[in-house]
Symmetry: C2
């Protein structure tokens, strides 16, 4: 059986039949109604072997491509509405897989109340490459990376470092001593975080009246903090001991007892947590909001004058310049 | 010198500095103002070696990716406004090339009065893959593939088959007998059409009050006619002798004297001309509009009851089922 674009599109068309914007995926484009709110458009691509493991399944790659784009919308404080999916498949794609991919897309669309409205599917010559365009709506002003103010608190959601640790586990030998300290449950926490990050969409949508600057952590905690610092023209002073860690990360970190390695994994990226700065008078409101949405929020530092990221560990200043994902 | 995403983005950021929507490419997404018109969003990806020759330059591939997406907007009758560019570069990309790519993007944006507002650039593991998202505005109702009515004339813009013939020339030996009939000028007409199609944006924007159905010819004249036929639930009866051909195509066709080959190249795709159907009372208006915009418009057939494409050559019916680009 030869995979067939129109068969796959037919499967997708079935579940988009309630979405007039998609034109049932039968036309050259999608049509979005006039809007009274501003729209946010994000577009990130994911390639197997670059942003994921080569061995990751097609569904895992497509899911991740969708989630990282929703995280970008969360990082602007936008409500996700639509996605378009550009799918460049490997040559030997199994048509059975395409049925699962269609189901994966349907599930994620349902989970985040978004609609697939268009895209393109081709069989390519290289590894699977997924380009997602996500469109969201802004109920109020966006929160940019550039808005951090001296005196702001620096906050993060969730736990940091788990996705990079999960990736490290997936790349290690099955009987690796490094991970012998983690039981099956903890192992699955960190690999799950790598495969299926939780874009902080609801929390992001609540931040416009609270936060001065906002980014999602894709390149890594310290690298993305540098993005806020450079666009806002401030310094972010981060307290390493305040960075929230999962039980899995703490156990692993104690077990390997290697500070440099710990720091590299902590700043390894792929967290898709939100990093934001907010005036100190919003502390209680942020904690209440996190509690209401069941998202951990942690104050990890302060915005000060300057143009860099300063990470302190007790009285020591830590160099984090070499951590984080570089795109080139 | 290592290519650097932020250097490349810096070059792009320079010429988008007049585009507030882009946020200077410094944030997680782009922001589009509230609109009173509907928006059209299209997303097509182009991979080196699949949609272009492996040997095509990075600039040629990026340019083509932009142009084919503008053609999709034209095929909805929309005015192009914005593009987002997802660029997955090959491992050995030369940083010098990126400067030319930035210039190529700037030139095409200027040519079509559009603005780059976002995207993503990564070094990947496979061939160059470019995913463009283009956003346009609809001044009135869109024209869909599904609107063809029995009795409509069938029209195309420009000349058909040149891009596929240009590709064939580029794939042939330099001293190929097949192309000995074409002088340098004619050769360059057809290769130019392959490398740099002319999306019929202005004409497309004028069609909403005239045409009942509209598509751009990417897969091939007959294949795309089938898309109109199937979504409109009609038949398109096309007269082969009315299909507009360039001098280069005619000379080559006479020289090779091979009807099946001619038909395959004619329906080979990549034309990025518009194929549309319109009531017969608009004939004069269509011709006037074409003359005003310096775009050739040719009536090549009629919409009749049925559900297929019927191509006649004099009294003979031609089978075109095997022509055209298939995505899988």
């Amino acid at each position: 059986m030869k995979p067939n674009e129109f068969g796959f599109i037919g499967q997708l068309a079935e579940f988009v039949s309630q979405t007039p914007e998609s034109l049932s995926l039968q036309d050259d484009g999608a049509i979005i109604s006039a809007t009274k709110n501003r729209l946010v458009v994000v577009k990130d691509l994911v390639q197997a072997g670059v942003h994921t493991l080569k061995s990751d399944s097609l569904c895992d790659i497509v899911r991740k491509a969708i989630l990282v784009n929703l995280s970008d919308l969360a990082a602007m404080g936008a409500r996700p509405k639509f996605i378009l999916l550009g799918l460049c498949l490997g040559k030997n794609v199994d048509p059975e897989q395409l049925t699962s991919v269609a189901e994966t897309i349907r599930v994620e669309c349902e989970e985040y109340s978004i609609a697939l409205i268009g895209g393109d599917t081709v069989i390519g010559l290289g590894p699977t490459t997924v380009s997602v365009t996500a469109i969201g709506e802004l109920a109020s002003n966006p929160i940019l990376r550039s808005g951090a103010k001296t005196g702001d608190d620096v906050w993060v959601t969730g736990d940091i470092g788990d996705a990079a640790l999960g990736l490290r586990l997936l790349q290690s030998d099955a009987d690796s001593h490094e991970f012998s300290c983690l039981d099956a449950g903890l192992r699955s926490t960190i690999t799950e975080k790598y495969y299926s990050p939780s874009p902080r969409v609801e929390l992001g949508m609540n931040l416009p009246s609270i936060a001065n600057s906002l980014i999602d952590i894709s390149d890594g905690l310290f690298a993305d903090a540098r993005h806020i610092a450079s666009t806002s023209k401030v310094s972010l002073q981060l307290d390493l001991s305040a960075v929230p860690l999962s039980l899995a990360f703490v156990q692993w970190s104690n077990h390997v007892d290697n500070f440099d390695l710990m720091l590299r994994v902590l700043g390894g990226g792929d967290d898709y947590e939100l990093l934001f700065t907010a005036p100190i008078q919003h502390r209680q409101q942020i904690q209440n909001m996190g509690a209401k949405l069941s998202v951990k929020t942690s104050k990890i530092g302060t915005v000060i004058a300057g143009n860099k990221v300063v990470v302190t560990n007790g009285k020591t200043t830590i160099n984090t310049a070499s951590t984080g994902f570089t795109h080139f």
